[in-house]
Structure formats: C-alpha cells, structure tokens
C-alpha cells in the first residue's frame, strides 16, 4: 500500500511549496516587462507634460474665440446632422442584411461545410480589420465626395463587426432544441427558422442596436475624409477658422452621441 502523499507525488501534480518560488520569479519578470512597455511608450510618443502647461495660453485663446457658439448657423447644420444619422442607419441596416447570412456560414455549429466556414470567416475578418476611415477613403475615391461613400464605408465595416458577434452568438446557443427538431425529420430551413432564429434573435437585435450607436459615432468622424455629414462641416469650419461654428457643431455632436447612446441602451434594456 502506498500513502496518499506518495500517490499524489507520483501523479506529477505540482506541489505547493515548489510552485511558489517559480511563480514569484515569473511575477517579478512580468512586473519588469510591464514597466518596460509603459516607459518605451512614453519615449515613443515624446510625452512632454510641460508642453501642456506652456500650451494652455493657446488653448484659452481658441476657446475664447469659439465662444459664444454661433447659433445663427443652427438651421444650416440640421441637414448635415440628418445626413450623419442616416449614414449610420443605412450602414447598420445594410450591415445586418449582409452580416446575417455570412454569420450563419461562419458559425462552426451550423455551417454547411468546412471550406464555407473559412471563406465566410475570412470575408468577415477582412471587413473588420480595415478601419472604417480607410473604407471611407476607398469609397470616396470610387464614388466621389458625399454621404454615399460614408454609408458604404459604415456598411462594410459593420459587416465585419456584426458578422463576428452574430457568429459567436449562434455558436454559443443551446443546440439541444436544434438537434431535437432535426431528429423529428424537419427540413434544414425549418430547423433554422423554428429553432435557431427564435433562440438568437433577441441577442442579435441587442448587438445591432449597440452597433447603431457605434455607427453614429463613426459617421460623425467620416466627414473628415470627405464622406459627408457633420464631420465635413466640422472640417470646413476648422479650415476657415470659424471657431464659433466649430463650437456649435461640437454641441450638436455631443447631443447626437448622447441621445444615440441612451436610446440604444434603453431599447437594449427593454429587450432583455
């Protein structure tokens, strides 16, 4: 008969005493690495806090020139504001329409074939890894200035973001009802609409609402590369040193972002 201690030792399980010394050394190394990473970033970005202090004067100057906001321009900013919001709505809707079928093909548990899975994953990744600003530059070059290239850029980037989250949602779903329905002799399309969709639709809607909020933020910025909306107004006003118009635009941006964020959060809370 062997004792319990002997059998535990023979099993190769790490003993607590020996483990502590090793993990201590690892902890110290990790600590050093983290410090090194932070220090190199300070060096690379040429961080000089004193510049902030000497620059305070210039900032105060800009702020004084931006005040009060020029509310007489309010009416002429309404259209670009609507444009910004509509770019996001178009992008989200188009993104969902294209992301949903791709996500079904890119979910390991429902994909029809392995090569389809990799192809769909690849397409989704490609849409995601290229930033929306770069997509906007590409589409501006392709279809010219205006809101449409912005809407296209948001659509393509949304396919990437939504496709991945949709696919993950489908992969994490409870497969028991799906298998149960498949064994009753239901067709594949019936199994999908009667077991897969009802289980995942609330999550997909939540993800979409969150994406709409994010897309409104991105569409505010897209104007900077000529893709229409409020960003384009902001860029023009800056270039023309119209700081009072800039401050008005920033107030509008603030309100739009806040309303989008709260609205999306409230709707998502209603879903769950």
């Amino acid at each position: 008969m062997t004792t319990v201690e002997e059998r535990i030792r023979a099993s190769g399980a790490p003993s607590r005493l020996g483990g502590k010394g090793i993990s201590g050394a690892i902890q110290f190394t990790v600590f050093l690495v983290v410090i090194a990473v932070i220090v190199q970033s300070l060096y690379v970005v040429e961080a000089r806090p004193q510049d902030l202090i000497t620059g305070a004067h210039g900032m105060a100057d800009i702020i004084s020139r931006a005040l009060p906001p020029d509310f007489s321009k309010f009416h002429s900013e309404l259209w670009p504001t609507l444009e910004t919001i509509d770019i996001a709505i178009f992008g989200t809707v188009a993104g969902v329409i294209m992301a949903l079928p791709l996500a079904v093909l890119a979910a390991a548990n429902v994909t029809p074939a392995r090569w389809v899975y990799y192809l769909a994953r690849g397409l989704i990744s490609l849409c995601r890894v290229v930033p929306d600003l770069v997509w906007a530059l590409i589409f501006v070059a392709a279809v010219g200035l205006g809101p449409f290239p912005g809407a296209l850029a948001i659509s393509v980037h949304s396919i990437g973001m939504l496709g991945r989250l949709f696919a993950e949602t489908i992969e994490q779903m409870d497969m028991a009802p799906v298998e149960a329905l498949a064994l009753t002799g239901a067709r594949r399309s019936q199994v999908f609409t009667h077991a897969v969709l009802p289980s995942v639709i609330p999550s997909l809607l939540g993800i979409t609402l969150y994406r709409l909020d994010e897309n409104i933020r991105s569409s505010l910025v897209l104007g900077f590369v000529g893709a229409g909306g409020i960003g384009f107004q902001l860029l023009s006003a800056m270039n023309l040193f119209q700081y009072q118009e800039v401050s008005l635009l920033l107030i509008i941006v603030f309100i739009v972002v806040l309303v989008a964020e709260r609205g999306s959060a409230v709707l998502r809370a209603k879903l769950s």
Binding site: A176, P177, E179, A180, T184, G185, A186, H194, P198
Partner: protein
Amino acid sequence: MLEVRGLSLRYPNGKQALTSVDLTVQPGELVILLGGNGSGKTTLLRCLTRTLTPTAGQVSVAGRDITALSGEELRQARTSLALISQHASLVRRRSVCANVASGALGHYSSIMTSLGRLPRAEMASALHHLDAVGLVHLAGQRASTLSGGQAQRVAIARALAQRPRAVLADEPVASLDPEAAEEIMRLLKRLARTDNLAVLCVLHQVDLAYGHADRVVGIRDGRVAFDLPKDDLARERVRDLYISEAA
C-alpha cells in the same frame, strides 16, 4: 413497430460498442431498457435515430429499414420515429403551443414553414396533444416558464405532434423528482396504449421499470443480457447487470 436485427457497431477506435443486438417493440407496448453506464444503451439509441450508423444489422421502423437510408429518404423516415431525451430541449422563447406544433414540421414542405410560420392546422392539433398530457391551460405561455416536469410533458406532446409510429425515450425522468418521474412514466404507458405506439424507454431506475414496463430488456457490454416480460424478471438478473460495472 420497432424492430432491431443483428445490430452491431464498432467505433473507429476499434471499441466494439454493440454486438448483434436483437430487439422488437410491438405497437401499444412499453419496453424498458436497463443497463449500467457504458453498457451501450446510448449507442443503441443513437443507432436507432441514425445519429450513428451501425456497422451491421437493421433497424426497421414501421417496416422500413432506416440503416440503408440517407438524405431526403432518411429525413422522411425520421418523422415516424420520435425521440424524447433527458432534457426537454424546447425552444425557450417560443410558446408552449408553438413548441408542440413544431414537432409536425417534417410533414410539411411549404415555403411558409421554412420562413418560420407554423401550419395552421397543427396549432389546433397541438392543443389536442397538450390536452393529452394535461397541460392545455399552459398553451400560451413561454416554454421558459415551465417546470422540469411540465417541460418534459410538453416534449412528449411535441413527440405526439410528430405523429410517430415509435417513440424512443432516453432517460426521460433523469432530471425530475420522483413524483414527476412517476407521472411521465404513466403518461408514456397510457400513450403507448391509446395511440398504439411502440415505446422504447431507457431508464436507470429499476423500480420504475418494474412499475410500468410491459417488457424489460437488459443490456450489458453491448449485448442483450435478457429480454423478459416484467413478471418473469427476477431481481437478481437486474442486479447482475450492474455488478460487472462495479468490479
């Protein structure tokens, strides 16, 4: 009727899971399958639903050998064989009634059913099936609101909506309290009689087997150890089923 002849299965890793299993369940009969863990019960059920393909032998449901089928033919054949598993496996966000009616989808091929609609005629008969399991008053509720015992009865109603000839039940009472378990077994037995179904039920509870079975089949090491009417079955033979596992 459910008929199994000379069913064998060897896994790709060389393990012989089933060896020449013969088994018949007549319409109107409740047969209970007993066996220890790893005895081959689950493998046998998977061969019957054709989730696994046996290496040899035949499985006939209503006179049709399903081991030879694939694709569309297999899908059609599956409609005559219903499975009730340990967990009810309902779509939690749908109503009880919709869950039941979805059991009949295999009989329909219209575009509307592929787009997520349920056949209107099935909604009416779903209520009928819910009444048969005593839950018609819950028809409009979401499936997520049901207790374990209720969910399992809804799963049985869904199996009925499938209009099967044979029903397989894989430890249908494993996650239920004794009272709910007793009720499910009574229900299975009653349905076997009234709907003239061949019911094969895997159980771990020997007492439930004695209480409800018409016939008990013991399975050990992938072979049929006994196949006897309940009244002829000695307790020792049942105990022997589990002894080899303990050693």
